[in-house]
Amino acid sequence: MNDEIEQFERRLQAQPVKKIPAGWRTEILTAAMSQASSAGSRVQELPWHSIVVARLSSIFWPHPKAWAGLAAVWVCILLLNFSNHERPHFIAEKTSSAPPPEMVAELKQQRLMFAELIGATEPRVAGRQKNYSPKPQSKRMEIFTV
């Protein structure tokens, strides 16, 4: 079995692969040298902000829609955040201003009516808590006390 596999492997290895076209050597090497030198000189000539823009565009270019979507989401988050910050100021302004005297008089009247309904002029004080008095813990103590 192994011998058969080895034979098959040798048979496959004996199949010659296609040769690289001879003309490619000059084309590829010349193109590589010229592209690299032109890129190098371009980088040297460009101002720093152009290099930053070029780098950023190389990052953002593969998925521009995805990046735009992400930016839109961030704008929404920031807008929501700012609108939430404004609300507490508004509430604070409202509460800090003194209520009108009519409202105070109305509230006093309501409080009196409520007190009459309950049957007391003074609001009830919450029931007092019982004082804790420890009791004897053992039977022997009970016998003594009896």
Binding site: I5, F8, E9, R11, L12, Q13, Q15, P16, V17, K18, K19, I20, W24, R25, E27, I28, L29, A31, A32, M33, Q35, A36, A39, G40
Partner: protein, 172 residues
Amino acid sequence: MPGKPELERLYDEHAQALFAFLLNLTRNEADTRDLLQEIFVKIVRDQKLLSGIREERAFLIRLAHNAAVDLIRRRGTRERVKENLAEIISPFASADDPDEQVFRDELAAALAELPEEQRTVAQLKLWGGLTFEEIAAALEIPPNTAASRYRYALDKMRGRLRPLYEEMKKAE
């Protein structure tokens, strides 16, 4: 940036192996040429790319593999469907003997049917002459994974080519 003589040496030593590897992956000569050029441009641009590299062949295969995977991803599903419908471009030289040619065509078809990761390992082992350790280093996978992928690939190709192979053996 490496000088022209150094670049020529790299080309003469490795371009044939890279060509066979890339052609097997892309199944397209124009793409293979573009990728090969991309690799050499990268070498020229980044002068530190090859410094301290002991296994040049494995390193260049890794560069080629990454570039080919990027290209295949860029092509997308639509292109892959088109590619499947198109005629298979054989990575093998044409033979004078018609029987041998039939075998090579069948072998090319069998290779094309393999999953990309198995095809890559099979190509590097059979026609790239790399060991499993070198393949593992080139593809950044454990050597055991490389060996198992190779075995799966060989089994599949044997299954597909068996009738033809045995017929040819009998004829010999």
